[in-house]
Point group: C2
Chain length 363, copies 2
């Protein structure tokens, strides 16, 4: 057994050892074909079946209604920062959309969308240093807007939306890159859900895009064919060569998630894991949680220490103790523990114990 650290990286992120071992064991021969999964055609029967099964697993685990299509798209969540406005702005003549600024990635989504049309930020967490999800004013929900964009979990900030705003007839778009398949979501509330795979559903290089079918077919002129939702849907996401290995790992992850008891069990396990860390943060004044209690993420636990010297010592000693990649995002600073689906409870316990011990010795 090779040496393994507890990997708290925000994405790419840790995978179950059983999945890594499965990849390893069948790397030279996929489905008895006598060739590796990374060598076979994306249009072979065997691989097309894998794509179909992966789609069906997403549909079943997330309870995606028949009104919504499931696409796989190149480029991760960031590519969707452009794909969403390219596909949806054309839904209404004003070509405008509403965004909520909840931190780093929401800002990048706004920046990219602004290249495609008129983007209005209707609420921002900037005034409270992004420690919470800002309140929306009903009057801001401009009915001429083509959609309202939310970042459902804010990886860099450690905050999350707990209830979806009622936007009436305006389709809701959710960037679920850091919490897809980590908690139950009523998919029918959304016009589009998108997520890159490298946090909760596998590895880097692809995004899952769930689109209400009646929103397709309005792509702006100049939309690249590989970002056109209707085109991808018509082609079963195989418009060109898909990132085959990435989809294969996604399928293994979804099978593993099923084995853990599905989404409800996963949601409960994630809440339990997060509580282990929040309990340490709340026990005293030594560690300071960044996120307001009512808006805390179960995926990314962000906090800081009394001063920069102890923060640096904390990160260095954690690393020496096999607690890897705890440094916060540069936008936020401090410490960030990313504990997605595949982070075992043992890893979280090890971190909680280290935090307690560090406080005792550096209080």
């Amino acid at each position: 057994v090779p040496h393994r650290v507890h990997n708290f990286n925000a994405g790419p992120s840790t995978l179950p050892v059983s999945v890594l071992e499965r990849i390893q064991s069948e790397l030279l021969d996929f489905a008895g074909l006598g060739a590796s999964v990374i060598e076979v055609s994306h249009r072979s029967q065997e691989f097309m079946r894998l794509v179909e099964e992966t789609r069906e697993q997403v549909r079943r685990l997330m309870n995606v209604p028949a009104s919504h299509a499931i696409l796989f798209c190149h480029g991760g969540g960031h590519m969707q920062f452009s794909a969403v406005p390219l596909n949806l702005l054309g839904l209404k003549p004003a070509r405008k959309a509403l965004y909520v600024d909840t931190g780093n990635f929401a800002l990048r989504a706004i920046e990219d969308a602004s290249r495609q049309g008129y983007i209005r930020t209707i609420a921002s967490g900037r005034n409270t240093d992004y420690d919470r999800i800002p309140e929306l004013e009903p009057g801001d929900l401009d009915p001429d807007a083509s959609y309202l964009h939310l970042t459902t979990n804010n990886t860099a900030m450690g905050t999350r939306w707990n209830a979806w705003p009622d936007a009436g007839a305006i389709p809701l778009v959710g960037d679920m890159t850091s919490d897809i398949l980590s908690r139950r979501v009523e998919v029918s509330r959304f016009g589009v859900i998108y997520a890159s795979a490298q946090k909760n559903v596998g590895i880097a290089g692809v995004s899952v895009v769930i689109v209400r079918k009646d929103l397709m077919g309005h792509a702006l002129p100049g939309t690249p064919s590989l970002l056109d939702y209707r085109q991808l849907h018509e082609d079963g996401s195989l418009t060109n060569t898909v990132p085959t290995f990435t989809l294969y790992v996604m399928k293994l992850l979804l099978e593993w998630l099923d084995d853990q008891g599905g989404l409800e069990a996963m949601e409960q396990a994630n809440a339990r894991k997060a509580k282990l860390l929040y309990d340490v943060l709340d026990r005293g004044a030594y560690y300071r949680a960044f996120a307001h209690r009512a808006h805390r993420s179960d995926m990314n636990i962000t906090f800081t220490l009394p001063d920069a010297a102890r923060l640096e010592r904390f990160l260095a000693q954690a690393h020496e103790n096999g607690l890897y990649a705890l440094k916060g995002h540069s936008f936020r600073g401090g410490v960030r523990a990313s504990i997605y689906n595949a982070m075992p409870e043992a890893g979280v316990r090890a971190l909680a114990e280290f935090m307690t011990e560090f406080e005792r010795r550096n209080g």
Copy 2:
């Protein structure tokens, strides 16, 4: 040792067993980090070094001059069908470009580019059923064009360009998806070279883009940030999470290519392998090569049999004999043997012998 077929798929395609075994052996621990290469941060020192080394290997192996930048971009060659016009059409006020239609993928490049500006097909192989590269008329080289696009090797057709046209001051753009790093190229002749990785440099999910630096910075409004060459260049291709595993496999492939003696040795080996098959085709009238002799590809050898029944029998019996994925592209039909860098000579010999034997028994 697992059962292995000879895999003639056009892409994704066969990999050296030594590379597969290396991936397998270090899958649970990358660079001694105690985490898999598919789990670590794309911004970790270790991974950023891998990206830098991969870029340097491409530069050295292809002898890329300092005038050109090397980018890694999401989405394979097909994404570049849009990225090229988005980045280059703005070089001149007319926003037009010239394309040469050499078959299936050239046509798809033309189709996608036509969404972005005025695209003129200045020569087409259609009249000769794409059996050769058409001649260009010097008068067609409109000096107002922003670039001239070629598909240097035509995967579906089995043809290739052997000499580049002199386009004067018009930058040449080469889709080298199916022959990059299979033969020597004078990179300075090109404004842009692009290639997806899954044929000669690894697996699906990324493209290599080599861009003359002075052509950057003219992206059309609305260009998605992840397709903007200047942005990617400024960010060292790490604008967002790169497909980490795909880059890792590319690096192993480039190391392997180096071990084989570099590009000149590879070019010679590829010519030797292709000759083994063309010699069988040329020996009699039983098999008919699709490509004109002067335009034959060393990567994709395309041919057909005397009738449909024998073609079907050929493909079925080849499959039974461990010769995998020989069916031609639907655009072309017949047989296609894709013999990229990683196809060992033994695989090509096995196919040549099978062809000889099949002809003897089904003549």
